[in-house]
């Protein structure tokens, strides 16, 4: 009786997110097999070269932000999250709805970051100092919760507003196309104009938002250790 009005619907963004994760898993297993089969003394080429370049970039970038103790398990985590968020942001290029335009998915990512931040603080400072640090100026609790809201809503708002704006422009070019070229049943004027806007909203804003998300997350975590 408590949940008599509960409606559970399967949202398309959840299925697309699961599909992205499955494709990433298959790709990483295949790339891992190729890397194991390659000779470490020869020059890499092809897929191994791309993977080595990406690992180098991520290690250098996160190695300059994160402290030494945490690097071993945080660099792989942040690299994987960065690849996942970038793929989710740019999947609008294929025509699917972007998973990060769903607040639940970005909230989950923000929750993982906040949990890791607080657990790192707890492990570094010990239980008593940690609770004292949260309560002594009483506004410190707000400072522990606000990264959750800011990280998740920033990513959600940027991607959702981009997808709403492109959707509105598609409606407009569809009406214009049916007005001018009424005999062609599809939207002719849309795609040439939208190519530029897709490059801005999906590629540029998507990359910038993933960069900001992982940079801010790693900065929050590294601020707890020092």
């Amino acid at each position: 009786m408590l949940f008599s009005n509960l409606v559970i619907e399967i949202q398309p963004t959840l299925l697309i997110s699961l599909a992205v994760i499955t494709c990433l898993c298959v790709f990483f297993v295949y790339a891992g097999k190729k890397i194991e089969a390659s000779d470490p003394l020869e020059k890499p080429k092809g897929l191994v070269l791309i993977i080595e370049f990406m690992v180098d970039t991520f290690t250098n970038f996160f190695g300059s932000i994160l402290p030494e103790k945490l690097q071993k398990y945080l660099i792989p985590y942040f690299s994987c999250i960065a690849i996942y968020i970038f793929l989710c942001n740019t999947i609008g290029l294929i025509g699917l709805e972007s998973p990060t335009s769903n607040l639940s998915i970005t909230l989950a990512l923000g929750l993982v970051t906040v949990t890791m931040t607080q657990l790192t603080a707890l492990r570094t400072k010990g239980a008593f100092q940690y609770i004292k640090g949260l309560l002594i100026p009483p506004t410190n609790i707000l400072g522990a919760i606000s990264p959750l809201v800011s990280l998740s809503v920033r990513l959600f708002g940027n991607i959702l507003s981009g997808s709403i704006l492109t959707g509105l422009i598609y409606v407009f070019t569809g009406w214009l196309s049916s007005l001018i070229f009424g005999f062609i049943p599809i939207d002719i004027i849309g795609p040439p104009i939208m190519a530029v806007l897709h490059a801005y909203f999906d590629l540029f804003a998507g990359f910038l938002q993933t960069f900001i998300f992982v940079t801010l997350s790693s900065v929050y975590i590294s601020m707890e250790v020092e």
Partner: protein
């Protein structure tokens, strides 16, 4: 009818949050250009820091846009 009118006015006022954001980001870009002029070797670091700073400041404008979209499409 009054409801729809008030909601439309509220949605328009919510986007006004972009005004101060544009002022702040223009200021940041101006100082970045000035810093590059003073020290042309730090070009890459300054560009990176300016873009990250602009992305963080833009959050407030995106909050306003989000509120305006929610007002228009949900109510």
């Amino acid at each position: 009818m009054t409801d729809r009118g008030l909601i439309a006015i509220a949605a328009a006022i919510a986007v006004f949050a972009g005004f101060a954001t544009a002022l702040g980001e223009g200021n940041a870009a101006a100082r970045a250009v000035e810093a590059v002029g003073r020290n042309p070797e730090a070009n890459d670091k300054i560009r990176l820091m300016m873009i990250v700073g602009c992305g963080i400041t833009e959050t407030v404008a995106i909050y306003g846009l989000l509120i305006s979209f929610i007002l228009l499409f949900v109510y």
